[in-house]
Subunit: 286 residues, 4 copies
């Protein structure tokens, strides 16, 4: 985990020889590919890959290696991205009242399961303030009720810019994100929806699940797009439900799903194990 | 499983003393309650129960015991139903092309996992004819394409009546069931839908699942009502899906879910472990 | 959850009429059985049941109802136990270094998922002291290394007695419990073992699992008996493992299992949903 | 699935540049790597990979490509294996009485989920003879009771050699395989064990599971080695068990696990998705 290295994510039109060319580039400079995940999407004629390259023996500086890759990348007409390891992604966590997803994130970050640095916790309610304090993290209370909403999002945006936030996690943040915000931070906002999407889109999914009488309930971690609850899905979890479970029982069971799904979703994202492809997410799990 | 006995299903408005009264009735006549499942639905103020009563020491004839229960049942303003064990439910299986659900049913019936007697296999295609022959079961090919549909359903109805069919299983039967048919056989038609309902209602759910990029796919066994894919759910199963799975991979993975879900659904139904409550199914699993 | 009531657990030799008699006793005194779980163990000729009785309309005092039941209980040669609801079980949590199970318990207790009152956190290391302080809970550091072990357990015993502890939870407490301690607190000590028992009994189960190359790893919540890791199992959870998972990856994945399993195990125990039957646990889940 | 191509499995000491060299070799000859799975085992300093290479544009004959690889393979001190696609592996299925695993294999082979050609079904009981006949497959009844065992295995060996069998599937074949047989067909015998190994090694695992009171039961598909039930694990499945399940209920539930596990195990093996590494199996699932 902690050995210095580079992660390269790359996507392009499918064509023969991509792996050879990229792996060759690494090998020529004494980079060692220690993990390689690729996906040749035959239906879409696209190619996606993630290379994890150990760089302890690299014959050039990391930055030089990264810059030099550009020639190959452009010749493949690829989109690519390098990340240096170890890395802690600057992450803001947005919350409202419930704290189970926040607690999960803090606990896993503390155990180094999630390589993130939490820049701040932002709430439109103060319920999670004490948790932030216990963890010595700044808490920003931003009112968003009624006509305060636009100002509130402007304030969030200002915090995010000031704190160089790279990832925005909606940890049961009960506000609809404005379209321009979704667009400006596309691919950088992760949400947990408390249902097995695309079932039970919208409000109160546990109540909906109860009324439909489903035998499994779930949670979905996804990237946020302007289209509510329709963004690329990163991870889903389910749990058995029975007829005797009330909506609040389902909410209790669902919390387990939400915690697992959001933790995995963040882990995949910050380790560059996801590539967004239109409305789908390519995910290379670990 | 095989000891002679009675199964009593009962539902009524919730009120104190129901269990005492019913259990007492059994005890007074030397019936032994060997399994009891109940559900006091506090949200709906309803009571549901299933009693399995061993009758080897009963002090009256079974029929007398059943008849005599009427007085108590009426005093509770209950709906109830007795079933004598052992029992094999007369079952028609409707199919189109694919045979995996049919095979599963035949295999489990052969192992005595499903106490059913298959009266006939009815297909609007002949693909499953050989399977029926191998099992020495009558196969009825009924054309239903285009304007033959109404006649086809009339023919099915006639077969069902003639053969005293009690349960109609739609084992990947690719025809929409007419409203009057649903109504006339309400609570006696079980379908397998190849998605995790209510997600992906309607046609080609695996294609829909692929396009949505879900990370779990599923199958749903439910009672058929006139409202397409919206009947009471008996059982659901899911399996992990990945970005590299094509729609046909999802169909392959989904077959596992379909087979398990339909087998459990039938098993619960024929063992009287289900009670339909509006759009939900109370299910007491074994 | 919160309505006042009584929980009755009862076990006896199987015999006709038990449910009738018990339900009758409740009904006669205007107690309403709102949940009933029973198990007629045909292999062992034993009967086990849990009655949840709403007592708001009881025609006598609760204590009178409980005392009066003795006549019936003795006539059935039963073992039984009443619990008044709402109830918070006095619970001591024993820890060593790792905190994930402790955190899970604290978090769920805070959400009222576990009706317990934590009397103290007892550690043979000080790693969890800060967590205890954050939750305003007393932390007792008890040294147990080398020849301090016997004294340490004497001290734990003294704390438990002084604080009227009813349940002792070993939340990754890395000490073998002395035989007399197991015996004296039989049925009141719950442990989480970090493997899918009976596989990988003893030390370092994740290392064992890695070496065996299993494709699923798990955790087991069980009652503690003098026979190491062989007590009655309450709950087990598993998670997929792959060849690329190192022992520390397995430990990371296993933590999810451990947290879910210990939380469910405690929940079942404190809600009187478990009955110990020799080396097995009857569990009526909710 | 059906596009012509080559599968290359390779393992060697871990060293920089392996992927580059192999991918390069393919690219130079206009082979297109459409799927690549690799595993750099940092704990064991070993490298394992599976390349799926589309060969429609190959600039040489397949055999030439395969032969030419030898130079590279030897320079890496690797062990490697090529397979031409499409391929049907010649498979003998060994059975005793129960038929559920056999049925599963036949059904999936019929659906083309398992690219195998079943050479024969071999039984030491005649229970599965009718199934073989229904599928127009040769059935060999070989007596193995008492002192017929050695002769029986000699006969199996003779059949296997005569029929050019590549894979031997023990589909609930209730005979202990002799050491020399295990050794001579190492890596080519797949067994399904009806427990979650390493729990419940040996006879009657469902009875053992019942007596231990486990809350999950399982099945394990593994390669057979001389050490009973200790060979490399390919796949494991589990299902929930409850206190009311008798050993025969557990057997019923376990059949689901067995069928899924053996089907996946065979699928992975015949698609060259497994590499045996000592007592562990590297498995690249699809």
């Amino acid at each position: 985990m902690s050995r210095p290295g580079l992660i390269l994510k790359l996507s392009c039109h499918d064509q023969p020889g991509i792996i050879a060319k990229v792996a060759n580039y690494a090998a020529v400079h004494s980079g060692n590919v220690v993990e390689l995940n690729q996906f040749s999407d035959k239906l879409g004629s696209k190619f996606f890959a993630r290379f994890e390259i150990e760089t302890s023996n690299l014959d050039v500086e990391n930055q030089d290696f990264i810059d030099g890759f550009g020639t190959l990348g452009r010749s493949l007409h690829a989109t690519w991205h390098f990340r240096r390891k170890p890395y802690r992604m600057r992450t803001a966590v947005l919350v409202t009242k419930t704290d189970h997803c926040l607690n999960e994130i803090l606990w896993r970050a503390g155990l180094d399961e999630l390589p993130i640095e939490i820049t701040s916790i932002i709430g439109n309610r103060d319920n999670c303030m004490a948790i932030a304090e216990n963890h010595n993290l700044p808490f920003h209370l931003i009112e968003m009720d009624g006509d305060r909403k636009a100002d509130g999002f402007a304030e969030i945006r200002s915090l995010i810019e000031k704190q160089n936030v790279e990832l925005i996690v909606l940890a049961r943040f009960m506000q609809i994100i404005p379209t321009d915000f979704c667009r400006d931070y596309a691919g950088r906002i992760i949400n947990i929806h408390h249902s097995f999407l695309p079932a039970f889109i919208g409000a109160n999914p546990y109540r909906q699940a109860y009324e439909r009488g489903v035998k499994l309930i779930g949670a979905t971690c996804h990237y946020v797009t302007a289209d509510l609850d329709a963004g690329p899905i990163i991870e889903q979890e389910v749990e058995r439900a029975h007829h005797h479970h009330t909506p609040s029982d389902l909410a209790r069971l669902g919390r387990n799903c939400e915690r697992i799904a959001i933790a995995k979703g963040i882990r995949y994202h910050v380790n560059d194990r996801t590539i967004i492809d239109g409305n789908r997410a390519i995910v290379f799990p670990d």
